[in-house]
Amino acid sequence: MASSILIKNEARLGLKLVAPAIGIIGLLVIYPIFFNVYLSFFDVQLNGSKTFIGLDNYSDLLANPRYYHSIGVSIIYLLGTVIGTTVLGLAAAVLMNQEFHFRNIARGLILLPYFAPVISVVFGWQFIFDPVNGIYNHVVVDVLHLTDTRENLIGNPDSALFVVILFDIWKHFPIAYLLLLAKLQSVPKDLYEAAAIDGQNAWGRFWHVTLPELKFVIATVVLLRIIWNLNRFEDVYLLAPNVETLPIFTYYQAFAGIVDQGGAAAISVIQLLVLVGLIWLYVRKVLKW
């Protein structure tokens, strides 16, 4: 069946329209992904000079305790942020689905953290946890007398991790909230009425009606949060550069101290494989729902 001129014209127009965008994405995303694999077999300098070293980058990496440490940090970060944003997002969605005065204002206000640029809020958070002036130490030491010493939570990598998690929850729960609220609003009212007639109290209705309805959206939120947070850089680095999640470890390898761009490429290759697995899961499971 010969395709007609009209079909050919449409195809030609289509290709013309996608060409710039796809060209740029191909050149600056797809090509670099493969270039990255290539670079991971070289000792690469900042000025671009390369020496082939085979799998040394990988073996060095797998022998580097800092790498395992950053994987550990990343896992804690992912667990904390994913659970935190999902639970808070769900709570906020249920809360904002109730009727009360000034609901629209409240709904708008809780979106603020998500919309605010990272750079313009991290210093506010720094200040809150500042050992000298911060409200956190004021409350803990002077008001509640939980401890005598003012602590620099962000200065210490171990405690800073929890500040970073809290910050991420604060900043990103609104997106979980938005997705969940949208679904919540589409749950048919008669389901609740039926459950109420069956004698379920509020908690029972939440457990037996709301949660099952939200199951898939919750799964979507969880998977998307993992995918995005695996790559998250700014939110961690700008607030507490001493918290070494994988992206930050990669950044230090590539651009700070003893530069090891090939090593950084190797980390990225491994991380990309994990990511592709997660994306595959997302496409196969979530988008099919």
């Binding site: 740029i24 979106l111 603020l112 938005l178 990669t250 994306i279």
Partner: protein, 321 residues
């Protein structure tokens, strides 16, 4: 359930929860605003309300402070008075004492950031609208591959590409000049925004009835004219939303800015400059907070304007966050 009359206790619980949640969300903003308006002696004061309103930080950032008297040592003054010295030399000497090291060039960084974010937003929205339209509406080879590819690319973060992208720009020679560096950065911002923009716009275009374009074609419009005269005008709110989204991604970007712009201080963007200011010894809370406030303001205004469509667009689009 929602319609039932609440008992007073339930009401109290509900409002307490709502107020706590809202406070949790806005407290850091209040903290920033408050500190930016406080005099240094007031920082330790846990109250959010400044004892004295202190606007110096804003004045300084916005260049409203009176120029400082140039304090020139007597020895140098004598040199300057020497008529044998050329005017050029004199100026050079003077510059040494008036160098802007201490002054944070907020206006310049703001302008840099605004320019690159604005250009990124415009170009990305434009290119994405073309591509998204084609993918959503036209039939051509590899169309579904591209549609799925966008989703994939959308989820590959910049962090994974920082080494190859940096190496590419070094290899091509872009990293060795200021203009090349800025071009590299702009291209990188494009790829960070294009997939999201394409995804959001593609989903939006699919909601526009196909028959509108068909009607336009019946009315004598070519496919391109139908897109230009019917689809784009209809998509204005979404285009605006996508523009804002792209603008903010570029406005926020720190990673690549730090990699590429480190040695080009004049071209630094706000995130980079603020971070540098913060880590420098003369970190001064009121200035940083005022700068944060000023960085925040345009974004908040944009989102207030786009909020209505944004919430929908984000949830429809699967969402980067």
């Amino acid at each position: 359930m929602m319609m039932n009359k609440r008992t007073p206790i339930q009401s109290v619980i509900l409002y307490t929860l709502v107020i706590s949640l809202v406070l949790f969300c806005v407290f850091p903003f209040l903290q920033i605003l408050s500190t930016s308006l406080k005099h240094p002696i007031d920082w330790g004061n846990p109250s959010l309300i400044p004892r004295v309103l202190h606007l110096d930080a804003y004045k300084e950032l916005l260049g409203l402070m009176p120029a400082k008297e140039i304090d020139v040592p007597a020895s140098v003054q004598r040199l300057l008075d020497n008529p044998a010295l050329s005017a050029e030399k004199k100026q050079m000497l003077l510059d040494k004492f008036t160098s802007n090291d201490e002054v944070f060039a907020f206006g310049r960084y703001m302008l840099n950031t605004f320019t690159i974010s604005f250009v990124t937003g415009i170009v990305s929205t434009f290119l994405a609208s073309l591509a998204a339209y084609a993918i959503a509406r036209l039939r051509f080879p590899a169309q579904s591959l591209m549609a799925n590819g966008v989703l994939f690319v959308y989820m590959v973060g910049g962090v994974l590409l920082m080494v190859p992208l940096y190496q590419m720009s070094v290899t091509v020679g872009l990293a060795s000049s200021a203009s090349g560096t800025i071009l590299s950065l702009f291209l990188i911002y494009l790829i960070q925004t294009l997939p999201v923009a394409m995804y959001m716009l593609g989903n939006y275009f699919r909601t526009i009835p196909f028959s509108l374009e068909e009607a336009a074609m019946m009315d004598g419009c070519s496919r391109v004219e139908a897109f230009w005269r019917i689809i784009l005008p209809l998509s204005k709110p979404m285009l605006f939303t996508v523009f804002i989204y792209c603008f903010v991604i570029a406005w926020n970007e720190y990673l690549f800015a730090s990699v590429f712009l480190k040695q080009y201080q004049d071209f630094q963007t706000l995130p980079l400059a603020l971070q540098t200011l913060f880590t420098s010894k003369n970190a001064i809370w009121d200035r940083i907070m005022a700068a944060s406030m000023l960085t925040l303001l345009p974004v908040i205004i944009c989102f207030m304007l786009a909020n209505k469509h944004l919430s929908g667009g984000l949830t429809d689009g699967g969402v980067k966050g």
